[in-house]
C-alpha cells in the first residue's frame, strides 16, 4: 500500500527501487575453485586466482550460471542467450584484481516481476558479479588487515524498477524475493551472514508526477533497517525540499544506532569505473537445451503451490499463504497431509507447529517432530483414539521426547474412552446421583449439560470421548 509523506504544502509519494545482492548458493566461487564456507579463518578460502596472482585467469563456474538462470526463470525474467562479463575498474585494498568482474551492458537475465499484495514489482535485471574481500580495521591498532575469503564469491545483483511506494512495500518485496531465492535454493537468504544485502534507491515526488532525484542507501543488512532507512530518507528528502533545498544524487549510509542516513559520497566524486568486456572471458553463450533443462527441473513455484493448496486441498487463503511462505514449510505440510484430511493437517502445521517453532526461534528444518509423525497424530485424532485436547498433550510430548504419537499414547495410557457401554454406566450412575439437577435440566435449564459432561470427564480422568459423552447425556436427559 502506498504511504504518503506529509509536506509543508501537500503530500509526497515514495518511489523506491531496490538493488539486492544475493550470494549464489554454490560450494565454489564464481571464477575459481576456491570454497565459500562462511566463518572460516581469514584467508583460508582463497585461491591463486582470488588473490590475483600474476598470470592467473578466471574460469566461469557452471553451477553459478545455472543458479542465475534458475533464479531468472523463478521471477519470470528473460534469459539471455548471449551475455558478457565486464571489468569494473577501481582500486580498493580488498579488491585484489583492481577490478570487479561483473555484467554491465549485457546481463544474463532481463525483466520479470515479483508480486506483493496490491502490486506487481517489475525486475529490471539480474546479473552475476564477484564479491570483494573484507577490510578488517579492528584487529590491529595501526593497520588495516585484508581477508580475501569472500573475494570472488558469486553474487546475483537483482535490480527492481522504482515501483515500490512505501517502506512497508520495500520490506514486503525483499521478504518475497528472499523467500523465492530460498525456495529455488539459489541463495540461502541469510542477511546476518551477509548472503543477502540490499541497497535502496529512494526518491520522493508529488503523487503521479515524474520521478525525483534519488539517493542510494548502501548495504542494508536487515529488513528492519531497510524499512527504517527508507522511512527516514523519505522524511529527510521532504524536509530538504520544504526548506527550499534540492535533493542531491548521492550515496548514503544508514546508521542503525541513530536511525538516520548520512551522505557518503556525492555524484561529483563518483568513480569512473572504466567498464570494458573482460578479455580473459569469452562471452557467455547459453543454448536452448541448457535453459530448458533448468526450466524442466524447476520446483513448483510458491504462487502455483499456494493456488493448488486452496483449490485442490481446500485450504483457506490464510493457511495457504502461511504454508507457502517457505518451500520447506510447504514440503513439510504436504508430507504431513499426505493420505489424510489436508485441512486438519494444515491446522496442526499452521497452528501448533509454526507457533511452537516461532516461540523457540527454530526453522522448520529443525522441528523435532517429523512430518510423517505429525500426520500420525492427525490420524489418531481423526479415528477417535485421541480427543483434540489430548492431541495437544501428545504433540507437546512428541516435541519434548522425539517419540512417536502411538508410543506416547501407549506409555501414558492416553487412549480416549469410546466404549459406549462403560460410558453409559457412568452416565446412568451420575444421573441417579444428581437426580435434582437432571430434573432441572428436563425443566428447561439445558445449560446444565456442561456440568454433566464435566462430571463424566472428571470421573474418567479426561479420557472419555467428549462427543460420545455429549450424545449419551442428551439421549438420557431428553428421553
Amino acid at each position: 500500500m502506498s504511504v504518503l509523506i506529509e509536506g509543508r504544502d501537500g503530500v509526497w509519494e515514495y518511489a523506491i527501487g531496490l538493488e539486492v545482492h544475493a550470494q549464489v548458493a554454490s560450494s565454489a566461487k564464481l571464477f575459481s575453485g576456491a570454497p565459500t564456507a562462511f566463518g572460516a579463518e581469514p584467508n583460508t578460502q582463497v585461491s591463486l586466482v582470488d588473490a590475483a596472482m600474476p598470470g592467473m585467469l578466471p574460469v566461469i563456474n557452471r553451477v553459478c550460471i545455472e543458479q542465475a538462470v534458475r533464479t531468472g526463470l523463478g521471477f519470470g525474467g528473460a534469459i539471455a542467450r548471449h551475455s558478457v562479463f565486464d571489468r569494473k575498474n577501481y582500486f580498493y585494498p580488498d579488491l585484489p584484481q583492481g577490478y570487479q568482474i561483473s555484467q554491465y551492458t549485457q546481463p544474463i537475465v532481463s525483466g520479470g516481476s515479483v508480486e506483493i499484495p496490491g502490486r506487481t514489482v517489475r525486475i529490471t535485471r539480474l546479473h552475476l558479479e564477484q564479491d570483494a574481500g573484507k577490510s578488517v580495521h579492528d584487529r590491529d591498532p595501526d593497520r588495516t588487515l585484508i581477508d580475501l575469503n569472500r573475494a570472488g564469491v558469486a553474487l546475483m545483483e537483482i535490480v527492481s524498477e522504482p515501483d515500490l511506494r512505501s517502506p512497508e512495500e520495500a520490506a514486503e518485496f525483499l521478504t518475497r524475493l528472499r523467500a523465492l531465492l530460498r525456495w529455488l535454493g539459489t541463495c540461502d537468504g541469510n542477511m546476518q551472514e551477509g548472503s543477502l544485502r540490499c541497497d535502496a534507491n529512494v526518491s520522493v515526488r508529488r503523487p503521479g508526477a515524474e520521478l525525483g532525484t534519488r539517493t542510494e542507501i548502501k548495504n542494508l543488512n536487515s529488513i528492519r533497517f531497510l524499512r527504517e532507512a527508507i522511512e527516514y530518507e523519505g522524511q529527510r528528502q521532504v524536509e530538504v525540499i520544504d526548506g527550499g533545498g534540492e535533493i542531491e544524487q548521492e550515496t548514503r549510509l544508514f546508521d542503525p544506532d541513530r536511525g538516520e542516513t548520512r551522505a557518503m559520497r556525492t555524484k561529483e566524486d563518483a568513480h569512473d569505473y572504466r567498464y570494458f568486456p573482460d578479455p580473459d572471458l569469452l562471452p557467455l553463450e547459453l543454448d536452448e537445451d541448457f535453459i530448458e533443462a533448468i526450466r524442466a527441473a524447476m520446483p513448483e513455484l510458491p504462487e502455483a503451490r499456494r493456488d493448488r493448496f486452496v483449490e485442490e486441498l481446500g485450504l483457506s487463503d490464510y493457511d495457504a499463504d502461511l504454508l507457502t511462505a517457505e518451500r520447506a514449510r510447504a514440503d513439510y505440510f504436504e508430507a504431513a497431509a499426505s493420505g489424510r484430511d489436508a485441512k486438519q493437517a494444515a491446522n496442526w502445521v499452521a497452528g501448533d507447529l509454526l507457533g511452537r517453532l516461532n516461540r523457540e526461534g527454530l526453522e522448520i528444518e529443525a522441528a523435532p517432530i517429523p512430518a510423517a509423525g505429525l500426520g500420525e497424530l492427525v490420524d489418531l485424532i481423526a479415528d477417535g483414539t485421541l480427543s483434540g485436547r489430548m492431541g495437544r498433550e501428545v504433540f507437546d510430548a512428541m516435541w519434548e521426547t522425539g517419540k512417536s504419537a502411538a508410543a506416547i499414547v501407549e506409555e501414558r495410557g492416553l487412549k480416549q474412552i469410546s466404549d459406549t457401554g462403560a460410558l453409559e454406566a457412568l452416565v446412568d450412575e451420575l444421573l441417579a446421583r444428581e437426580a435434582d439437577k437432571a430434573a432441572e435440566y428436563r425443566g428447561g435449564r439445558t445449560k446444565l449439560l456442561g456440568f454433566f459432561v464435566g462430571q463424566v470427564m472428571k470421573a474418567t480422568g479426561g479420557k472419555a470421548n467428549p462427543k460420545l459423552v455429549n450424545e449419551l447425556l442428551r439421549a438420557k436427559l431428553e428421553e
Binding site: P54, G55, I146
Partner: protein
Amino acid sequence: MRDLGLADIRAGLAEGAFSAVELVEDRLAALEAAGELNAVVTPMPDRALEAARAADARRAAREPALPLDGVPVAVKDLFCTEGVRTTASSAMLGGFVPPYESTVTANLIGAGAVLAAKTNLDEFAMGSSTATSHFGPAVNPWKAKDDPRPRAPGGSSGGSAALVAASVVPAALGTDTGGSIRQPAAFCGIVGLKPTYGRCSRWGIVAFASSLDQAGPMTRSVRDAAIMLAAMAGHDPKDSTSAREPVPDFEAALGGGVKGLRIGVPREYRVDGMPEELDALWREGAAWLEEAGAEIVDISLPHTHYALPAYYIVAPAEASSNLARYDGVRYGLRSPAEVVEEQYARTRRAGFGAEVRRRVLIGTYVLSAGYYDAYYTKAQRVRRLIARDFEQAFGKVDAVLTPTAPTAAFPLGEKMDDPIAMYLNDVFTVPASLAGLPAVSLPAGLDGEGLPLGLQLIGRPFDEETVFRTAAALEAAAGFDAEPEFVR
C-alpha cells in the same frame, strides 16, 4: 654443441654421442660467457642440471624418449616458474617468486625440456627494444659492419632472441602481443612464431594485453619451432580463451612444399620510407616461393593503415586494467605510506618504469567515460575490420608474405625518446595480432650493413601447418647461414 638443433640433440642423446648433463653443462657455461648480452635476468643452473640428470636417468632406465629430452630452453621472464623469481623485468616484481608453474613451461618440462634461464624483456613486455627493462637493455649479438655501436635485439622478447641468435641455447620461449616474438626474431636473425590466439595457454604468463598475448617458440630453424610449438600447445581448462583445437604434428607438415599454394602479397604493407633493400628482399622472397611452385597473388588488406593506432588503444586499455593488481597490498613491491591511496601512488611510481606508466595512462584515458566510444569502441570496430580483411584474403590465398619489421636492428638507445617511432616497429606485426592469426618471422637475408632482415608469413587461424610448410620452403630457398659477430 653450440650449433645443435632440436633434432640433432634428439639424435645425439639417442646415439649416446653426449649426455643431457654434458650438453646442459656446456650450455650453462656458454650462458655465463654471454653476460655482455645482458640477456638473462635469472639463471637457473641448479634446476637445469637436475632436469638434465633426470633426462639421463630416464634414458638409462630405457624409458621412451620425450620430445624435448635434455633440450636447454631459455624462458622469457614473463612466464611464472615455480620457486624461481619471475620479474617481468620490472622493479614491481623484482623479488616475486611464484608458487606455481605456467602451463606452457609445465608442458615443456613434461616434454623433457631443461629450463636454463629466465630472459630479459621490455618491462611487462611493453616495448620493441628490451630497453625498457628494469635490469638494463639486452644487447643484440649482431653488429653492423662499419658501426661498432651495440644494437637493440628488438623486443619485447629480446633476451630470448639474443640467446638463440648467439647460439647459447637452441630454443627459447617468447610471448607476442603486437610483435614481441617476430620483431626480435627478425632483428636477431632467427625464427620466431606467434601461434594462433588460443593455441597456447596464457595461464601463468604475466598478462600484458589479454586478448592479444600469445606464447611462442624462438629457434634457429623452422623445424625447431615446429617441434617446440607441438610441446607447448594444447587446450588448457584453466584458460577460458585457450582453444579446444587438436594439436597436429607440426614437424610432419614441414616437408609438404608449396606447390599449388597461393601466397598473397598485400600492397598496403609497402609503406613510405621503407628501405629499398627490405622491399627487394620481400620481392625476392615472393620469387623464391614462386620458383618452389607457389602462385603469388597481389592482395589488398585495406584496413592495414588503421591497425597500429587500434592496437595502441586496445593493448594499453587492457594493460591498464591487467596491471591494476600491482598495488603493493599482497605481493611484489610496496612503498608504505600512511593512507592507502598514497601507498598505491608511491608503490606504482617506484615499481613501474616510464613506458609502463605511459601505457597505463593511455589505457586509463581511452577507457574513461566520455572517451570510451571514441577510442575503445572504435578500435574494436577497426579490429573486426582487420580480421575481415584477412578472412576475405584467405578466400583467395593460403598464406600472406610481408616483411617482419620496417628496419633492421637499430642502435641501442635509439628511439627511446620518441615513443611513436618505437611503436612504428610493430607496423607489420600488429595486424596479425589484432586478427589473432598465426605468423612467423624467419631470417631471409642481410642488409647492406650486414644486419639480418626478416620476412613474415601469416596464416589462417589454427593453420600453423601451412605457415610452417611455407616457412620451411622459404628457409630452404633463402639459405640464411650468416652468423653474428658474437658467435664468430
